[in-house]
């Protein structure tokens, strides 16, 4: 007989009820085309309206619905219930982040880090609007396009053991975002970002575990971005020591 329901074991944390979290079980209908987010919405609509969680587009472009499912960071809008048969499915807030309530995490820290790398075009010279637009070839776009696909879902921070151990680590998404601008032909801010990135809490804490790229739903490959930047920063450092007269 095909399975008709599936059990969710959901992490509940309500500070007003007590300092320790609990797991609460919910039985939801099993539908072949449902994702975990659909199941959570069913819980909130029909069973327990007190459950708190973030979601928005439900199609993998907004980056809001990241959670741990059976210990793996995934977008709940992309995780089909069928994958986790027969269940139960354990749902927890994203790892390595403080939990505000139920499945909602505090992400101010990462938001600040994204901002820290100056994620905007820093042109060599300010061009007045009257001079017209920047022109960019498709080849130049290819140089950085992959790193522009990040949806800030923070699954990579959840997967990164270094970020878990060292909350000061600037992290995969921030470095990939910096590379999106460093490799953009219109940008001249490489030097400026070097100060933030080539830091003990910047790229140098990364030990290429590679889990960030493994969990990224958009194939941004932050691990690759970081390794490339290590080469860039090292070349820059050695050039400044061995050939300080060069520009």
């Amino acid at each position: 007989m095909p399975q008709e329901t599936i059990t969710l074991e959901v992490f509940r944390y309500r500070p007003e009820d007590g300092p320790e979290p609990v797991f609460q079980s919910y039985e939801v209908p099993f539908r072949k085309d449902w994702v975990v987010l659909d199941a959570l919405n069913y819980v909130k609509d029909e069973i327990d309206g007190s459950l708190s969680y973030r979601w928005s587009c439900r199609m993998g472009v907004c980056g809001s619905c990241g959670m741990m499912i059976n210990g793996e960071p995934v977008l709940t809008c992309a995780a089909f219930l069928e994958t986790y048969l027969p269940g139960p499915i354990r749902i927890e807030p994203l790892a390595n982040f403080p939990v505000v309530r139920d499945l909602v995490i505090e992400m101010d820290d990462v938001m600040e880090k994204l901002n820290r790398v100056s994620p905007w075009i820093i042109p060599a010279e300010e061009k007045p609007v009257s001079e017209g637009e920047y022109l960019q070839t498709p080849d130049e776009l290819e140089d950085f396009k992959q790193y522009s696909m990040c949806i800030n879902c923070m699954l990579c921070y959840s997967a990164c053991p270094v970020f878990g151990l060292e909350p000061g680590f600037i992290g995969p998404a921030a470095i990939a975002l910096a590379q999106r601008y460093n490799l953009d032909g219109r940008d001249a801010g490489n030097d400026h970002r070097m100060e933030v990135l080539s830091d003990d809490e910047g790229i140098w804490q990364c030990t290429l575990v590679g889990e960030c790229s493994a969990v990224c739903p958009k194939s941004v490959d932050p691990a690759g971005a970081i390794q490339r930047y290590k080469v860039t920063a090292t070349t820059d450092w050695w050039k400044s020591k061995l050939m300080p007269w060069s520009s």
Binding site: P15, V99, V100, E142, V209, D221, G224, R228
Partner: protein, 138 residues
């Protein structure tokens, strides 16, 4: 008259989950990562053995013969078998990760990762043959 509402910043009582000391035994990708990092211990082990072998050469034919005899002991062989597996794992993971740091583009197409890794593996084969020939043909 500006009488904007003064909000008190909401400071939630957050719950922080701790990381166990041996976090890397719980998930295979993490264990595999630590094993990869520990290959460096066996790299260091072997270059020290190599150094001691060179030193035995400097100390004379008897010392060299003694060292060769030590290499044949069960302990030495066991250590070398383990070390061989680990240094192979170092080489395989090192060359497989090379494409992450080396991105070479020809026009719009990026040279695929397997090609860069493949070139590294091929060079490894060539160097190994050359070194083997130097040691054995002498």
């Amino acid at each position: 008259m500006s009488h904007y509402p003064r909000y008190k910043k909401y400071r939630p009582k957050v719950y922080r989950r701790s990381i166990p000391i041996f976090w890397w035994v719980h998930k295979w990708p993490h264990t595999r990562f630590i094993l990869r990092e520990l290959t460096s211990v066996f790299v260091a082990f072997y270059v020290i053995v190599l150094l001691l072998q060179v030193r035995s050469l400097a100390a004379g034919p008897q010392a060299y013969a003694d060292f060769l005899a030590w290499l044949q002991t069960p302990l030495a062989l066991a250590l070398h078998v383990v070390a061989f597996a680990m240094v192979l794992y170092h080489s395989i993971t090192w060359f497989s990760l090379a494409p992450k740091a080396m991105v070479i583009r020809v026009g719009r197409t990026r040279i695929p990762g397997w090609a860069i890794a493949g070139a590294n593996f091929a060079a490894w084969g060539v160097f190994s043959v050359i070194l083997a020939w130097i040691i054995l043909a002498v």
